[in-house]
Symmetry: C2
Subunit: 411 residues, 2 copies
């Protein structure tokens, strides 16, 4: 099967097949974006392949975004995945499709879907406790009273969700140290990351009709890595009483590849034991016949190529299914392309924390990197999140990385 092989055990082998949107640089068309499926270090032009094979899915795949596929629903998702699996594994198909594979290094990857609403949650107990201890050291409980009763979340800015590889301009804004008489304006001096997992909604829901816990897989297509860039100094001054705004809204990076939930069946794990009785719409302890709601994703956070943390997604207290049920329990509707972030993923160990805020304990304990100490990010720093999950037969399922370089506003 020339011209390329996928090594045995490759985390982007035929068991994975994440979806993205790519274009060929320099091609004559004004926009030649189309859906691609990753196999090893190549991308398959899925629409062209479907056309060539006379597949009925060509109209879902020959599209400049994933939104039509997302909207098509679970049966279509399974059917398309089954077809793609055959195309890349049956030798005759694979051979016929060689013209439609492009080396990853030869294509440009784009934001894979049009983001409708973007919501960000706060679902790691370790993260919430760390933040509580840092900012409210005198509080009796490092968690707010509501934390164990509902997955806390808020809406973010969907217009500034960018694809992996996009430079992040250091935001300017107001900040005020407690001792200052008035706020000052300037570039953030406490620019941070948050290592998260993003969930992508495919099938919409009707206004006024909540989505039950058990309907999660009917609505959510897949997941990606997500970096919720955060300017801690801007955030600290602005966020009381209505929550984060400019401290977050300048950029949210997502990976170029959306991993379908169907590729992550072997990664499903039970979430941590619930310490509080949950209201019925959130109670996932009684009705688990569809399998557990957690995912065993092993995330890695690197600054300038140096791994600083390995947050374990399996430790998240609230699951994506609970977040979806909560987000809609008031009757709020879903749209194709809705994106929701898990919240910062932090494990119990120091080297498992998903933000520099926690890793450096708000700057008190700088990280030692090969190129010097870091409290928060400096201009030129490149942050890369990567992850894998257990797959079939011990093979890993790779998630698309999300990377971004910090640039000064005048860079």
């Amino acid at each position: 099967m020339p011209p390329f092989d996928v090594p045995e055990g490759d985390p982007f082998g035929p068991h994975n097949l994440p979806y993205g949107v790519f274009s060929i640089p320099g091609s004559r068309e004004p926009s030649n974006r189309t859906v691609g499926v990753r196999l090893g270090d190549h991308v398959l032009d899925a629409g062209a392949a479907a056309h060539a094979l006379g597949s009925p899915y060509a109209s879902l795949l020959a599209q400049p975004t994933l939104n039509p596929l997302l909207a098509a629903g679970r049966t279509a998702w399974s059917d398309v995945r089954r077809a793609l699996t055959a195309w890349v594994t049956v030798p005759s198909h694979r051979e016929a499709l060689e013209p439609f594979f492009h080396p990853l290094s030869s294509v440009t990857l784009h934001l894979p879907f049009e983001v409708a609403d973007y919501v960000d949650f706060y679902a790691s107990e370790n993260h919430a406790r760390n933040v509580g201890q840092i900012f409210r050291p005198d509080a009796a409980d490092s968690l707010t009273p509501n934390w164990k009763h509902l997955p806390i979340g808020y809406h973010g800015r969907s217009g500034t969700v960018v694809v992996s590889g996009t430079d992040v301009v250091r935001p300017s804004g107001q900040r005020k140290a407690p001792a200052d008489a008035a706020p000052v304006f300037g570039p953030s001096v406490r620019l941070d990351i948050e290592a998260e997992v993003g969930f992508v909604v495919g099938v919409p829901s009707e206004l006024g009709a909540p989505v039950a816990l058990g309907d999660f897989r009917e609505h959510v297509f897949g997941l990606c890595l997500l970096n919720d860039w955060s300017a801690r100094d801007i955030q600290a001054w602005e966020y009381v009483p209505l929550g984060p705004f400019l401290g977050k809204s300048f950029a949210t990076s997502v990976s170029a590849w959306i991993t379908p939930l169907d590729a992550l069946e072997e990664a499903r794990v039970a979430p941590p034991e619930r310490t509080h009785e949950l209201l019925p719409y959130l109670d996932d302890t009684k009705d688990a016949q569809d399998g557990p709601g957690g995912y065993d994703l092993r995330i890695s956070v690197a600054v300038n190529g140096h791994v600083v943390s390995e947050p374990p997604f399996s430790t998240m207290y609230w699951t994506a299914a609970q977040q979806l049920a909560h987000m809609t329990v008031n009757g709020a509707s879903l749209r194709t392309g809705d994106l929701y972030g898990s919240g910062t993923v932090s494990g119990p160990a120091e080297r498992e924390r998903g933000s520099l805020l926690e890793l450096t304990w708000n700057g008190r304990d700088p990280l030692e990197l090969p190129d010097g100490k870091r409290t928060f990010l400096e201009d030129g720093d490149v942050v890369t999140l990567s992850a894998w999950a257990p797959g079939p037969d011990g093979v890993r399922v790779g998630l698309g990385e999300v990377t971004g370089r910090v640039v000064g506003r005048d860079a």
Copy 2:
């Protein structure tokens, strides 16, 4: 000029000409939505009119949403308005266009634009002080320390912005009284409104490039009335530390008519005197050659047809231009269709408060309506916001009303 006349002094006369999107019920096309312009109690099919007159603006107007017109920019906005003014005032044009006028009562009005991001501010000092006194009675200052330094805002859910006339399903959710040991679940028992003005962004901006105070009119096309329905019990339990979420995300109603800023030149007024020195990007005291940043909009809030409040928009501390400058100062980009709410409009007098929370002082002082007492909204209640502004030669400029009926989830 048969078949209809616009009475002298009609607030929707030829000096106003707000834009909306309408369709003719029962027409054969699957979707026949198109841009309409209101004149008196009629709506002009603007795209059909433009076609009939051979106008170059037909392609901007024969559209199912306002977005193409919004994206076209200020020069196009002025040109289109000038053309429309001629069409509805020059007798020969007006006569030629009679076939394209439809009685308002014969059409269906739709959400006039596709909402990109939705942001809500908190810009009334009276409102913020009332809320502070109600919820933090022991605080030394009823305003949070940041309030006078920046326009506080947060992102809301754009997917649940609905057009005037849409029923609002009473949301269910968690609430917890201070004395309760654990939260309970059920329909909100403290459903409220917030009388606001919404601003509609037309021209996008680039990621990383703030929009200056003076560029407000290059980006913002117009405004509408907005009701930010709020479930106070859900909100109270969820909002610490990340702000409002399900307490607001179930519905936000906007009027069917977008009033262009160009129709409101006579309504511009100076905002209240600034009590704190502002950082340069927000300082509108030094550079007012383009005219003042406030708008003299006289809002009226009616419950079941009974006026309960008349909030004066001229009292808003932060202007829409300041809100736009703040929203983008961190480099966040704008998209065509971005919507931002002013925040609840409350004047200094009791009968000028823009929420039931304030009007009833959190339920302590019920309102006496002809059909009984009200603290918060009951199923079946209809809330209607209307407004007018001073126009040319003493004629009022009417804003499109925003109305909605509360229905129980099982209704």
